[in-house]
Amino acid sequence: MYGNAYIDPNEKSNSITDGEDIQKLNAFESRISNGEKIEPKDWMPKEYRKQLVRMIEQHAHSEIIGALPEGTWITRAPGFRRKLALMAKVQDEVGHAQLLYSAAETLGKSREAMINDLITGKSKYSNVFNYPAYTWADACIIAWLIDAGAIINQVANAKGSYGPYCRALDRICVEESFHLKYGHDNVVTLATGSKIQREMVQAALNRWWPPIMHFFGPSDKISLHTEILMKWKVKMATNDDMRQQFLNMYVPKIWDLGLTVPDSKLMKNNENKWEYTEPDWDEFKRVINGGGPCNAERLAVRRNAEERGRWVRQALLAKDSKYLIPLA
């Protein structure tokens, strides 16, 4: 699961294609506009490679960090059916990370280097995972609505221009559709359950609404940078478009369940667009830059796992080792 790639709005945009061979650049761009996929060995502009690595890496990190808030509910899941389903779901998310790291590796950055950048805080992951899952209902809302948001993003990105990323996303999207079903089924059960269950799920929705609205990122500045990334099919839809798509698909479903959305301004206007209270983007920035309720904890858990597992990875590198491929 993942939000849209976070592009720093202050990044200089005038030098994106500086120094690139114009002929090669033109050929590259016409391949993309013809709908061809770019493959690892093909020529590509430096900025294209850089943005893709950043985006795929962020996506991969989001999958493993996303496994943490949900993972803590595996041991608490109520009943065999939910326990087995949640285990399978979180396992899928870890599998997504594996696929995505491999896709990013085709662009020249090793999994190790990426994980290192994650635990040192150098690279980002989806902001939503910096919020805690307080109750079982939070885990259910995540599985439904955060995965729903992720699907919108991933379906769009699967039509992008970089072959290995698109192929990874095609596989991921199939699994995500099961997550969505699982999450929806959980939320329906709670929303149609006992008074305690209904209150639990409404409270979780109230807590998760602001992070959900943040999920796709702030309105894109109409900048040259965004324009080029869209032309190169690195970025496939604007953040606002995806947010609108999400609201359009899910607000009616939320209302159908008798749940309320904690935004009194939320409504569809005459132009068929959703109006809503502008999310608090200062909060978004504060959280993405490390100030959220769980940033420190998430990274500490990840760092700790890396440290505890180091001896295993080192043993795998031993030169006289008999088996080189871990079985999974």
């Binding site: 993972g71 041991t75 608490r76 009943g79 396992q91 006992s194 796992a305 008999k322």
Partner: protein
Amino acid sequence: MNQDAIKELLYKMADDLLILGHRNSEWTGLGPILEEDIAFSSMAQDKIGQSQALFEILHSLGEQEPDIVAFMRNANQFHNSQFVELPNGEYDFSTIRHFLFDHADQLRFEMLSNSLFEPLAKLSRKIKGELKYHVFHANIWVTKLGNGNEESHSRMQNALNECWNFALGIFEESQFERQLIEEKIFEGEVELKKRWLENISGILEKANLKIPNTNTWQAINGGRQGKHTPNLQPLLDEMSEVFKIDASAEW
């Protein structure tokens, strides 16, 4: 057939699988490499699914529904061996436990696939196939890490020493042992332990790991009779935290 004997056998097997499956699932998101995260999760899912299937048989013998039995009992009502309730520790401990337990469990299900108690025989024939993969995985990792480098070798040896007497507790005999054998329901813990030792010895040798000296062997029993370490009750409290908010609700 002696129903009490059968129930006791089913409970201890189901409880072992539920508790170890739970422990395996605690590795989710925390494994030393992503591939192992995924492998431990697969094994956890199999084990929890297997325990559910055993509780279903118990249910058909008049016990409560699987969810109620699994989520509503206290530690002193659990029949699992103490071995499976111990915390995961590091990956060395978890891997050795996985190796020792799964070898025993695979043999147990293999033996039970000839049980005269047909529902269990039928289920065992299905489960022993799933366990083949678990044992294969354990063998590879034990061999790999036993031979890896100095640190991994000494970690694995220490874990084996630490696990050993607890592992012997898997084979704690039931008060119904004689009936189970006579009625050809189960060939018994003594026979199981014998075959287990044969199976693991060769692999441990390949892994360059030594089974502790026989004069130090002392099975840590009690689990089968509801005596547990202080680790089990907190595990159960956590497991049932949500379920107990309203045990009659659908979740």
